[in-house]
């Protein structure tokens, strides 16, 4: 190869990365800080937009992975979220509407060692790009897809999105939308994503923790970030995300722990038949009666149940709903190439060209 970017000496193809394992040790060696991940481009989102916080938490989280910034790539589609790569001082590719997962898939095939983030929105990921999200997730492409969900089209100035609630009045739906919304996490689960989580733009510590866990996952990670669009859909999640109410209206998921919530940790989720119910602890109801979160469950039932819970019927779950291990797409693709090489030997072009029946003209 001619552009030996990283000196591992492999011939005949795309540069292979040094494949630095994610580790605190490497993070200590690299000594990167948030500032290293801030690009020289002026950020141009509306003042007060939830995207600022998501960008800041992303930049803060990056040093912890111990990955050199040249091995990190942010790929986005179209929409307000699509601008994020310009603000990250890593490799970045602002692509076309809905197609970021396809480019990310090709990039991972070409260079499996890169850490690839896909930045998208509810319109980009679930409307025009729904097909690609489905297939990148079921293939377990090793990408971390962060979907900013503001339940509105922001960049095109306020039309209904696939996550807008039924009856939502917008510029494009003055009488209210008649389209039933999709639940992003249910969709991700049906698409066989191997990591599924939710966080909130303003819950900075939780968002950092969620991004960090997604980054450490090998395989397709789907992270929904509830993000406020203060221009076209202000307060979409206010009812349960505001500081004063969030403990009582959101359920912080912790692996292996019973599902307890409330400012006074006095409420929980219990299973009744096939349905969850909110119960008050005490009066004969104890922690032992509550559902225990298991993000590693192979079957999707618990995660699916959680993905359907929404305020005001239920507290809105945040955290990791699902985290399972499956071979990644790039691993499987590379394994087939290596296996073919082991079986047939490294391809010999001269032999290939004369394969089959030939004849000689003197």
């Amino acid at each position: 190869m001619t552009d030996q970017a990283n000196g591992n000496g492999r011939t005949g193809g795309a540069p292979m990365p040094t494949d630095v394992p994610l580790s605190a040790e490497n993070a200590a060696i690299l000594q990167l800080t948030r500032k290293d991940f801030v690009s020289d481009q002026e950020v141009r989102w509306c003042p007060g937009c939830g995207d600022y916080s998501i960008l800041a938490q992303t930049q803060k989280t990056m040093p912890d992975f111990g990955v050199p910034k040249e091995n990190i790539v942010f790929i986005s589609g179209i929409g307000c979220s699509g601008r994020l790569p310009y603000y990250m001082n890593t490799y970045g590719f602002h692509t076309i509407h809905g197609r970021a997962p396809t480019l990310a898939t090709g990039l991972k095939i070409a260079n499996p060692g890169l850490m690839v983030w896909v930045i998208t929105g509810d319109g980009d990921a679930l409307s025009i790009g729904g097909n690609h999200v489905l297939h990148s997730m079921r293939r377990n492409v090793d990408i971390k897809l962060v979907m900013f969900n503001n339940r509105i089209y922001g960049l095109t100035k306020g039309q209904a999105s696939p996550t807008s609630e039924l009856g939502k009045k917008t510029k494009s739906t003055p009488a209210g939308t008649v389209d039933f919304p999709v639940q992003p996490l249910s969709f991700a689960l049906a698409a066989e994503a191997s990591f599924i989580a939710r966080s909130v733009d303003t819950h900075t510590e939780h968002l950092q923790e969620t991004l960090e866990r997604a980054g450490h996952h090998r395989g397709s990670a789907f992270v929904e970030v509830l993000q406020n669009c203060n221009i076209f859909n202000d307060g979409a999640f206010r009812d349960f995300t505001e500081r004063e109410v969030r403990d009582d209206r959101m359920l912080l998921l912790k692996h292996g722990e019973p599902m307890i919530f409330g400012k006074h940790r006095d409420k929980g989720i219990r299973l009744r038949g096939l349905h969850p119910e909110t119960v008050q602890l005490g009066n004969g109801v104890s922690e032992a009666d509550l559902l225990v979160h298991d993000e590693e469950a192979e079957d999707p039932y618990l995660a699916y149940m959680l993905s359907r819970m929404w305020w005001p019927e239920f507290p809105v779950p945040v955290g990791v709903l699902r985290r399972v291990n499956r071979p990644t797409h790039d691993q499987l693709v590379s394994a087939q190439v290596e296996e073919a090489r082991a079986q047939k030997g490294e391809g010999d072009l001269a032999k290939l060209l004369v394969a089959g029946e030939t004849w000689v003209v003197e």
């Binding site: 001619t2 970045g92 076309i96 693709v333 029946e357």
Partner: protein, 642 residues
């Protein structure tokens, strides 16, 4: 029954220069296989060959029906040939439907071999015959050989444990064996193929081998045939040859390009006729580091190729017209971010789903202009199946050197047609490798090589070159997002100049024949063979005529205008309504004459010849009657897009 059975009759051997055979039967009858086996055998014998597979889009249309007929035409010769032949000398019809759909192409006096067992009342009805053509005298202008193939074949496989249906499936080998005898060909390559192909099914292997030998022996022993034919090997250029289809050559060319560029190939593709065989071939070359990805749709296919290119690999995608239409937005992204990419369009008849298995050359303007804004993309178009190899490499040379997507226009005729290919030595092929950018001090994402105007290829994983690209307009040099009016004008011009500049780096347009005169016949793509042959014949008759074939459609070779102006008239045959004509008129202000026929078929030599003769005689080609299959005539419209 053996092939060694002593002939007990007088058989003459006639020497022929060229023979064209068409095999026709039900799409489940194995006609493509029969044709392919005859082709291999003729090729290995040393004939020049050219083939035209012609099959329906339906995998198995109802048995015996007209839409279910599948055909395979092969022309083999002791002289160099360029086309699969205008009309067959011999038609092998396995049932009435095959007879009915093909007999119109067989010239009077032509040989017709039919499976007489298939001419049942039921089959005749399905084919729309009111009376049996074998009995009603309607075929008296042909030399008809009625062979009860089904019965004879069933007898040959008696004693093998097979159902009646399986027995019936072997009858194409009987027909093939008979043709091998008739043209004095060895059965060995096909016997070897049968053994290999049916290794796991010894009974089927035995049955097919017996059927083949029985057909051969039938020719030898029956009183029906008194003449065998011999077509001597062709005097081709010295070298090692193999038989190859356009799609095979395309796939091999890409693997070779990957070696010559010393980068791995990532092929993103979605199945579509007639391009899928490229995916099938490339998927078997994994030990060459080829990574194939069957995407969820056409857009994901090109998206993955662009992503791979961004990562420093050779990102490749292929499709046919409908798929290329879906890829156009992503292709424009590649134009904007200036990454190397090759997009193959194996053209088929449209619009929309059109006629998926039939050929057409009507995606030229889509390749040129089918994207939003001014969006220049170089276009190459191989002219023969074997040339597909060379232009696969050439497409990559341009893509890598100029950091640009390149469109490679093939078509169904090239893709499935076959011809002998003189296999090159890898040592004789060009080094097309380019370096990626690694130097921090000089790095600007949109700085340009002063000669090629290519921007640097700085791939993720390269320390210190972290940068952002995307579909938004780029500031010259820095590549930052820019809405500056003057910058946009400059960038549009730079992108156009970069592609236009490729004209200095490609061979001039070659003229076959005199470099000036009365008439130039100018084609592009797969019309090469028919044009070349028609022009050679007219040259032999003393006409002032020449042929040129464009392999580069954007930019045109730098001498194109001069070549055109050196002739009184220019005739442009295309299997579309005048797309190249439109470009030539716009670019060179020359009023070329278009010969435009869109029948899902390649041109015949006679069509080109008749039109050229008309133009030479000063007649309008609209008055030239062109024969159609059903015997009717219609005029050649020359001005479809004018």
């Amino acid at each position: 029954m053996t092939t060694e059975a002593a002939p007990h009759k007088d058989v003459q051997v006639r020497e022929l220069e060229r023979v064209t055979i068409r095999f026709a039967g039900d799409s489940g009858d194995g006609m493509q296989l029969t044709g392919t086996q005859f082709t291999r055998t003729a090729a290995v014998f040393g004939n020049d060959i050219s083939t035209l597979p012609d099959f329906p889009a339906e995998i198995r249309a109802p048995a015996g029906s007209l839409p279910g007929v599948s055909g395979f035409q092969i022309s083999f010769s002791s002289e160099e040939i360029h086309t699969p032949g205008d009309a067959p000398d011999v038609l092998v019809a396995m049932n009435p439907a095959a007879l009915r759909t093909n007999i119109g192409d067989l010239p009077a006096g032509g040989a017709l071999i039919v499976n007489s067992d298939a001419f049942t009342a039921n089959n005749l009805k399905k084919a729309g015959y009111e009376s049996n053509p074998l009995a009603d005298g309607s075929l008296k202008q042909y030399t008809v050989f009625e062979v009860p193939i089904t019965t004879l074949n069933a007898r040959s496989v008696e004693g093998l444990e097979m159902g009646a249906k399986q027995v019936d499936l072997t009858k194409n080998f009987f027909a093939l064996g008979l043709m091998f005898w008739l043209y004095g060909r060895t059965m060995d390559p096909t016997l070897r193929w049968i053994e290999e192909r049916f290794k796991a099914k010894p009974v089927i292997a035995e049955a097919n081998a017996r059927a083949l030998k029985a057909g051969y022996a039938f020719g030898e022993t029956t009183e029906m045939f008194h003449t065998k034919y011999h077509v001597a090997p062709a005097k081709l250029e010295p070298g090692t040859y193999r038989n190859i289809t356009g799609n095979e050559a395309t796939a091999l060319g890409f693997v070779t390009a990957s070696r010559l560029a010393r980068r791995e190939l990532v092929y993103g593709s979605y199945p579509i006729t007639p391009a899928s065989d490229i995916l099938h071939s490339l998927a078997t070359y994994k030990n060459f580091g080829v990574r194939t990805f069957q995407a969820e749709d056409e857009i994901a296919a090109i998206g993955s190729a662009i992503g791979a290119a961004y990562g420093g690999a050779m990102g490749l995608t292929a499709s046919s017209g409908p798929g290329i239409a879906l890829k156009s937005e992503a292709l424009n992204l590649a134009v904007m971010v200036e990454l190397p990419l090759v997009v193959v369009d194996v053209q088929r008849a449209g619009p929309s789903t059109g006629m998926p298995t039939k050929t057409e050359q009507a995606d030229l303007l889509m390749a040129m202009f089918g994207r939003n804004s001014d969006s220049p993309v170089p276009i190459v178009a191989p002219a023969t199946p074997a040339e597909c190899f060379d232009y696969a490499i050439e497409a990559w040379r341009l893509a890598l050197k100029y950091m640009t997507p390149v469109i490679y226009l093939s078509d169904a005729f090239l893709a499935t047609g076959a011809e002998p290919w003189r296999v090159p030595s890898p040592d004789d092929l060009p080094d097309i490798s380019v370096g990626g950018h690694t130097d921090r001090a000089t790095f600007q994402p949109y700085s340009r090589n002063p000669q090629t105007l290519a921007r640097p290829w700085a791939v993720p994983g390269t320390p210190g070159l972290e940068h952002r690209i995307g579909g938004l307009e780029k500031a010259d040099v820095t590549g930052n997002v820019s809405y500056d009016p003057d910058n946009h004008h400059r960038m549009q011009t730079l992108r156009a100049d970069k592609v236009a500049g490729i004209a200095a780096d490609i061979p001039p347009l070659q003229v076959y024949g005199p470099d000036q005169g009365d008439l130039l016949v100018l084609g592009w793509g797969s019309s090469y063979g028919a044009i070349r042959t028609a022009v050679e014949r007219l040259q032999a008759e003393g006409h002032s005529i020449a042929h040129a074939q464009l392999r580069y459609l954007n930019p045109f070779p730098r001498n194109t205008g001069d070549v055109l102006r050196a002739f009184e008239r220019v005739l442009v045959p295309e299997v579309n309504l005048g797309q190249l004509s439109l470009l030539l008129r716009a670019r060179f202000l020359i009023d070329v004459v278009g010969l435009n026929r869109v029948r899902g078929r390649p041109f015949r030599i006679s069509e080109i010849r008749n039109a050229a003769e008309a133009v030479l005689a000063g007649r309008s080609i609209e008055d030239v009657p062109l024969p159609s299959e059903d015997g009717t005539t219609f005029s050649a419209s020359g001005q479809g897009l004018a």
